[in-house]
């Protein structure tokens, strides 16, 4: 594969990730959010495999495999089980002001690119152009967490943020050392499990997964 071809493909995957991040920002249905999250993981795994192939970095194959197993299969499966058990599969969230949210999202992308620019210049990786997109998807996921009022979408935002960070690591440095990536993956998995247990407690105590009902602990 020629160098320009692979760069083109990497950029294509990066823009797909950005697109998915925007789609998540606007998506009202919980089920579709999980699908989007799984797609994000799939694109990430593909991208990592491609980078591994182009640059001959063998450890990236392992991290692509890890991404595939964890973020395309395991986590979405847990989330599916969860929304079934909580009976929120067909939940639709009311999001106010989607156009404004999208506009702020665009501003975040610009900020992300500006922050990443000086670093991209220093980098010698084939993926350096995509660092801005990585940072932008982190910021967009952050934005998503802020705008959501329900527990499950908030956590999907959190997981998407971790995806963005993983992408940042791949684009700036060809990935973190494998032991660190394994550790991060373990944390994410355990975190999702704990979240799963936690939602049942929330539901038991509040009869709702709406964060607004939960936020009562103001300064007394």
């Amino acid at each position: 594969m020629s160098a320009s071809m692979s760069t083109q493909l990497i950029n294509l995957f990066a823009s797909l990730l950005l697109l998915i991040a925007f789609a998540m920002l606007a998506q009202r249905r919980v089920l579709s959010l999980i699908h989007l999250f799984a797609w994000q993981g799939a694109v990430l795994a593909l991208n990592t495999t491609l980078v591994a192939f182009v640059t001959d970095q063998h450890h990236l194959y392992y991290s692509a495999l890890l991404t595939l197993v964890l973020k395309v299969i395991l986590l979405p499966w847990i989330l599916h089980r969860l929304i079934d058990k909580l009976n929120v599969r067909w939940d639709v969230e009311t999001l106010v002001n989607i156009p404004t949210t999208m506009l702020i999202g665009v501003v975040l992308v610009i900020i992300g690119f500006n922050v990443a620019m000086p670093i991209s210049h220093l980098s010698a990786t084939v993926t350096r152009g995509t660092l801005g997109i990585a940072l932008a998807s982190v910021l967009l996921s952050f934005m998503m967490m802020i705008t959501r009022r329900k527990a499950v979408p908030q956590v999907i935002g959190f997981l998407a943020m971790e995806n963005g960070l993983f992408f940042a690591a791949t684009s700036a440095t060809y990935g973190m050392p494998l032991v660190v990536e394994l550790g991060v993956a373990l944390d994410v998995l355990v975190g999702t499990f704990i979240f799963g247990i936690f939602t049942f407690h929330l539901r038991e105590a509040f009869d709702s997964l709406d964060i607004e009902h939960i936020e009562k602990l103001k300064e007394r």
Partner: protein, 482 residues
């Protein structure tokens, strides 16, 4: 060998308590395992005292004068808190606030939490340090919500989300750190090892390190509880079981600050400017002032002391920010005495609120009448944390303020005003709790008094006399941090 022992003991403990943690004897087992961890930590400390800094297991672990005393402190407070938690949790069970299953969860998570903190302290790899910090959050989320009350669930949710998001920023900072080091050290596992980074820190790219440090400050700063990222802290401290409040406040905040300072050393080496110090001073001072002024509004005893923790962590961050041998020495000393004093206070506050049946300070009255040791423990602990001589907090605060007067005179009025306000607020609230008309009931199990006075005695000793080897560590660590 010893680093592995320090880490394997709590892991084994978590497995054992995960199986049998619901038994009545589990509190004792928990304390025994913590004692073993303490012994392992003491052996490690003795080794480092004798032979100096050490690397172990293919450079995976690194112990020097900066982290060895934190390891010893963590193991010590972990042990005393386990001693305290045995009667405390029995009383909670007696009052019907938890059942056997949750007791098992509590004990297993407690040991896991100790493991994650010790791992964060001992590891040489900045990536593993991040993983351990995140794992420490995860290990304590279900502890904060142990009572399953609406308020505790909300606190745990806030803790989970805010610390999760915060620590994600630190991961980005770590990625940037790796990016900078990779260009000097080459790709692979060694590029995130602190000792390797420290050797080449002056060659790291300054612009990347600046950005990395900002992200790390926001990330680990959330866990330290720096204003304005502190909003999870009072909730998590107030709603969880008191032993958890004690270890969160006394240990976790220290460990998070440790992670930040390790990274600061690298950023300072690369930048050669005051940027990191100024940022830490700014955040620290803001935390001191905001927390001090929030104290007077609190009605819940544990929230009050949680805000006091924000104040003290702010003060330590400020001192690390000033830098220089004296301020850093004072910061390390303050870390030690704050950790000991604050956990002692949480122990007495825990028993006091069990006696009163509430954490609301208005309803806790006359502790001295019903149980003089708890009453005096609370009084002495509060005086110690407010910086009264001859306790150790006075010594460290005195050093911090005199250094601030000399080097950053503009900050002194803020610091003095904040400490004055904090004194008035806390003392005004604690005094009637200790000496008013009594309201308490008898506890079904004898309270744990020994850990309280052991901690206060240590703080008192540190106020009048710092043992030479400890002073030597602090000086070595201060020279390292700069």
């Amino acid at each position: 060998m010893y680093p592995l022992l320090v880490l394997l003991t709590p892991i084994a403990g978590a497995v054992i308590l995960g199986l049998w943690g619901h038994r009545a004897s589990a509190g004792g087992v928990n304390a025994a395992i913590s004692l073993l961890t303490l012994i392992a930590a003491a052996l490690l400390t003795a080794q480092v005292v004798e032979y100096g800094p050490m690397l172990a297991f293919d450079e995976l672990f690194f112990v020097d004068s900066f982290n060895v005393f934190l390891v010893a402190l963590t193991a010590l407070v972990g042990f005393t808190t386990a001693l305290f938690s045995r009667p405390y949790m029995l009383i909670e069970m007696h009052h019907g606030r938890i059942n056997a299953r949750r007791l098992r969860l509590y004990h297993a998570s407690y040991q896991l939490f100790m493991f994650t903190m010790l791992l964060a302290l001992l590891t040489n790899n900045l990536g593993i340090m991040w993983v351990a910090m995140e794992a420490a959050t995860l290990a304590t989320v279900l502890l904060v919500s142990l009572y399953r009350t609406p308020a505790s669930l909300e606190a745990a949710w806030k803790y989970f989300i805010l610390c999760g998001v915060g620590i994600a920023q630190a991961l980005f900072g770590t990625v940037l750190m790796y990016f900078a080091s990779e260009q000097v050290l080459g790709a692979g596992g060694t590029a995130l090892l602190w000792t390797h980074l420290d050797a080449v820190k002056s060659q790291l790219e300054p612009s990347v390190l600046t950005l990395a440090f900002v992200f790390l400050l926001v990330g680990y700063g959330t866990k330290v509880g720096l204003v304005p990222l502190h909003s999870w802290l009072p909730d998590a401290h107030a709603e969880g079981p008191t032993p958890v409040s004690a270890v969160l406040s006394g240990l976790l905040l220290n460990v998070a600050l440790y992670a930040l300072v390790r990274n600061k050393v690298l950023a300072d080496g690369a930048l050669g400017s005051d940027l990191t110090g100024n940022l830490m001073m700014g955040f620290g001072l803001l935390s001191v002032v905001i927390a001090a002024f929030s104290l007077s509004r609190q009605q819940d005893a544990k929230r009050l002391f949680a805000y006091s923790s924000v104040e003290h962590m702010g003060l330590i961050t400020f001192a690390f920010g000033m830098g220089g041998p004296v301020a850093t020495f004072a910061a390390l000393l303050h870390m030690t005495v704050h950790s000991l004093t604050k956990s002692a206070i949480f122990f007495v506050v825990g028993h006091a609120s069990q006696k009163a049946g509430t954490q609301m300070m208005d309803s806790i009255r006359g502790l001295v009448d019903t149980n003089p040791t708890i009453g005096w423990g609370l009084m002495l602990g509060s005086l110690a944390i407010l910086g009264m001589p001859p306790f150790g907090v006075f010594a460290s605060e005195f050093l911090i303020i005199t250094t601030a007067m000399r080097e950053h005179p503009w900050a002194t009025p803020f610091l003095l005003a904040a400490l004055g306000v904090a004194f008035a607020a806390v003392f005004g609230k604690v005094q009637p709790m200790v000496f008013g008309e009594t309201t308490g009931r008898r506890l079904p199990h004898p309270p744990a008094i020994l850990p309280v006075f052991a901690h206060l005695a240590l703080v008192l000793v540190l106020g009048v006399y710092i043992p030479p080897y400890l002073a030597q560590w602090y000086r070595q660590a201060a020279a390292l941090i700069g």
